[in-house]
Symmetry: C2
């Protein structure tokens, strides 16, 4: 098996190490020369270029979204030349960005026009660290993997999903789910981006400096993802700005209800607000455990 | 050693089981007859009453704040009669409420007027479950314990803190810190109450129902404490309403800045907001690890 990787950050580097540990040949590309040199010591066989692309079964775009699209624009023609969607010949190209509408709209179009296979993906794993130095072969072990296939007829869609599943399964993902770019971005604005914004905003209270000695577990959980890569997240969030803005507005509205109850000294109202959140949380947990 | 406990919920019940497992004699009181019966099978020796109070070294008030103060009003006279602050004779009474100003103001007064020893405490442990059935002897193992002594001369204060530390240390707390009721309530509004409000409000987004299949670890962390005891938390939060309302307002203001940057399509501003939170979080983590 041969795997090509564009961008050797935490995600791309972890894919490289994971496939290498499975015995695959890995070709890769990174704009940073030191990263490139480090990766070629024991992980990457050779640069990903027009010579190595044709031997790849899977090409993983793991740079920032814009850089991934630029690579795809530049290589759409060669990818089309070595592929035949009718016979499943040629590599499957996937991206790994945390937002899907912005990337998939253009990538689906390039794949359709040039005749190669592309599936959007979002491997839901990460750490607060970034870069190849922190990449780990087991980063994706047990993690959820979201697949975002193009709109096409059912038979071709199933074949495509089956091929990408077969290529990705050895990495050890905990689950696979399939969704549309729009649904993905709506959900991710809530489960991931809003969580990072809230955590990042939480520590800005003037009281944050004063809590040493008795911070609770709840505080640690709430602020765990306050530490993040600002450039990467700003790009992801801006690509999903409408959904995320709505989620922030919705949360602000919900928070304000508690504040009003506190200011009014209305304990019954506060208890009802807390009971409502408790009820929703229990219902969600029940659904999740019976899913 | 003899320990008296008022209220056999999660906290009182866990103190009862912890001291019993250390070989202490435990007297206790709960308004619920089934809890009382269950506790007397293997944990509690006999009810805490005028007959058993004089033999106690430590009396732990672990009911809701108002109920604790009522018990203290009713027993202030007998506690004074068996105590001598000058010779450290008589039990030390502690409460365990999550807010300290409301309870300590009255309890310090009762202790001073009647001549018995009282120290406010806040054991920072808990689970999302409540009640004696979930009480565990190891609930406090490694947990931070906050002590809130009365304003008095330094020598008496040190003696009091030393006595209460000696009585509580065998339980296995991870750390002890000493603060004032006002400072405690200001910090706890931020580290604990705000975390519960945010978590409880977070799940109220209409999107919460749609995320199954790909929720991230950040979502699980953010919503862990959404499940809570609404009656208890409404009482705690109402007793700390001013501080908590300020923290909610401060968080709303911080969140709104991200929303405005998103709506304006201002990626640089969004990146700066994220970088600011990241910087503060790293500074806090550095302080905590060097403390």
């Amino acid at each position: 098996m041969c795997v090509g990787i564009v961008g050797l950050g935490l995600i791309g580097g972890s894919f490289a190490r994971a496939y290498r540990s499975l015995g695959a040949t890995v070709y890769a590309l990174d704009t940073d020369r030191d990263t490139m040199d480090a990766s070629m010591i024991e992980t990457v066989e050779a640069p990903l270029d027009d010579a190595s692309i044709p031997s790849c079964d899977l090409i993983i775009l793991a740079a920032y979204p814009q850089a991934c699209l630029e690579w795809l624009e530049e290589h759409a023609e060669i990818l089309g030349r070595i592929s035949d969607p009718d016979t499943s010949r040629g590599p499957i190209v996937i991206d790994t960005a945390g937002v899907k509408e912005a990337v998939c709209a253009r990538a689906f179009e390039l794949a359709r026009v040039n005749g190669f296979a592309f599936v959007g993906t979002h491997p839901m794993a990460g750490t607060q660290y970034s870069g190849f130095a922190h990449a780990r072969a087991d980063l994706f072990r047990g993690a959820p993997m979201v697949l975002v296939p193009p709109e096409t007829d059912d038979a071709r869609r199933l074949t495509l999903l089956d091929r990408v599943h077969t290529l990705l399964a050895p990495i050890g993902f905990g689950s696979f789910s399939v969704t549309s770019p729009e649904e993905h971005d709506r959900v991710i604005a809530f489960t991931s981006q809003l969580a990072h914004v809230v955590s990042n905003a939480y520590v800005k209270s003037p009281t944050a400096r004063a809590h040493h000695g008795f911070s609770a577990g709840s505080y640690r959980d709430l602020t765990r993802v306050a530490h993040l890569n600002p450039g990467m997240w700003a790009e992801l969030m801006m690509d999903d700005a409408k959904n995320l803005s709505q989620e922030i507005a919705s949360l602000i509205e919900a928070l304000d209800a508690y504040r009003l109850a506190l200011d009014a000294g209305d304990r019954d109202r506060l208890r009802m607000l807390l009971a409502e959140g408790d009820r929703i949380k229990r219902a969600l947990d029940d659904e999740a455990s019976s899913a």
